[in-house]
């Protein structure tokens, strides 16, 4: 009798870790952005995306609100803001 003991690739996406945030989230101001991609690089969740200047966003479905994107941004174009998490849509 064989039952699956393996997981399919990338299936962790079913797990919406955005619910973990407690009151803060990064806000991408999209004014000074130079598209240096450092925020993308240092995000432990891999949930920041964008291609051109001033297009970068965090996927709040997964963002845990650690704030390292804010710390790394060379042009201070990301800020931590308070959020009322119960108003956020997760899906």
């Amino acid at each position: 009798m064989i039952i699956p003991v393996t997981s399919k690739p990338r299936t962790s996406k079913a797990n919406k870790t955005g619910t973990w945030r407690s009151g803060k989230k990064p806000h991408f101001i999209q004014k000074e952005c130079i598209a240096c991609r450092l925020c993308v690089m240092v995000c432990p969740e891999g949930c920041i995306s964008g291609d051109k200047k001033r297009t970068y966003i965090s996927d709040y479905k997964y963002c845990k609100g650690c704030g390292n994107c804010v710390a790394v941004c060379p042009v201070a174009d990301i800020e931590m803001i308070k959020e009322e998490w119960w108003r956020e849509t997760i899906s």
């Binding site: 699956p4 997981s7 690739p9 962790s12 797990n15 870790t17 891999g46 995306s49 704030g67 390292n68």
Partner: protein
């Protein structure tokens, strides 16, 4: 672009340095890789059945045998004739690497398997709740090396695994920090271009175990390098080929004070201890030549040190593009600056926008900073127009 090789939805703590490190590694390797993972946080937070964060073939067996499991994978690929197409990575935390898995790691090095071993060094057994490992630094507080009336925490310095790796005559050994992602990725790329056993040790902060704000992961990973406490090194065939130099070494308490694991040192009694940690940093700086102006190894390695007022033609400048170990120079308002070894200029690329080997006078208009930043860099000559 949201990565397809290391997916969101994993269950690492917010600000996890290991998640960050692992993502950077696998994004660099690309999809043609098989990863063997030791037991530990990384395994647990990426593979809770029926989910997995991995977009590459991945296997976990036990705590201490990851290098041996990877050896088996490599042997299987070799016999199948697929080793040219598929790379093998063996990875684990500091405990899996430096303690329980040391013998199997040594065996992997010794047998010469074509594997890149990546150690995510968060300096303690985090998966079990922050116990002391062989890579826990001096005077750091863990649950099994607590501070107390008779203790300042862990009484021993970190094991020097890169040197142990070198003692096995492996072709490539390096250290990195997640605060310097381009340097890290460059090293992964380089390691994968070399056949045989490779070792990469990455400094990965753990907000939970080190008791720091999750938002400080980046800052702490930067400071540990800037203080000299975690030398960023690169060895090829046992020879030190590059070090990440520091502008001016920051005092270690700037790094220590951000972390609860060192809080017991910031007392009257602890002052002497901080001095001891400073001594470790100073010794690293001296040993590896970490100071930019010091007589470091880097200076020894650069063969042709250009004279101060060397006159560069455009063609000459274009050769100094920072690729393949060449120096990274650019010109600005007639002066030629040396940015070799600067992380924002790794591989001669500056945020994917500017490239070394060219006159960037025009381009600075776009930059978020003024020309005051150039003071940090050394002028190596002038550009002949």
């Amino acid at each position: 672009m949201v990565t397809e090789l290391f997916s969101s939805g994993h269950t690492a703590c917010a600000g996890c340095g290991q998640a960050l490190g692992a993502r950077l590694v696998v994004e660099t390797t690309g999809p043609n890789v098989i990863i063997a993972n030791a037991t530990g946080c990384l395994e647990v937070f990426t593979s809770r059945y029926p989910e997995s964060a991995w977009g590459v073939p991945w296997i976990h067996s036990l705590f201490q045998n990851v290098a041996a499991v990877a050896s088996g994978i490599e042997a299987a690929l070799r016999i199948k004739g697929k080793l040219d197409q598929v790379r093998v990575i063996s990875q684990g935390g500091d405990g899996a690497t430096a303690d329980i898995g040391m013998a199997s790691l040594s065996g992997m090095f010794d047998r010469g398997h074509d594997i890149l071993y990546v150690c995510y060094d968060n300096e303690a057994y985090m998966n079990t709740g922050v116990q002391r490992s062989g890579l826990t630094p001096f005077d750091s507080r863990t649950t099994t090396s607590p501070s107390g009336k008779k203790s300042f925490g862990n009484p021993r310095p970190k094991k020097n695994i890169p040197e142990i790796a070198n003692a096995h005559n492996v072709p490539y050994v390096a250290t990195a920090s997640v605060a310097f992602p381009k340097d890290l990725q460059k090293k992964v790329k380089k390691a994968l271009s070399i056949r045989g056993p490779k070792y990469l040790q990455i400094f990965v902060p753990c907000p939970l175990g080190w008791r720091h704000d999750p938002g400080l992961t980046y800052e702490i990973a930067k400071l540990v390098v800037e203080t000299g406490l975690y030398p960023i090194l690169e060895y090829q065939d046992g020879k030190l080929i590059s070090v990440k130099t520091i502008e001016a070494a920051k005092p270690v308490d700037e790094y220590l004070k951000l972390q609860g694991r060192y809080a017991h040192l910031f007392t009257e009694r602890g002052k002497g201890e901080i001095a001891k940690i400073q001594a470790i940093a100073d010794s690293n700086i001296k040993k590896y030549g970490l100071l930019k102006e010091g007589k470091g190894v880097r200076e020894k390695m650069v063969e042709e040190k250009p004279a101060e007022e060397k006159i560069f033609t455009t063609a000459e400048l274009s050769k100094c593009d920072g690729k393949d170990g060449r120096p990274a120079y650019f010109a600005y308002k007639g002066k030629v600056y040396d940015v070799t070894g600067s992380d924002p200029w790794a591989d001669g690329e500056h945020y994917n926008m500017h490239f070394a080997g060219a006159d960037l006078t025009e381009a600075l208009v776009e930059a978020p900073h003024g020309d005051e930043v150039f003071e940090r860099f050394k002028v190596v000559g002038v550009l002949k127009v």
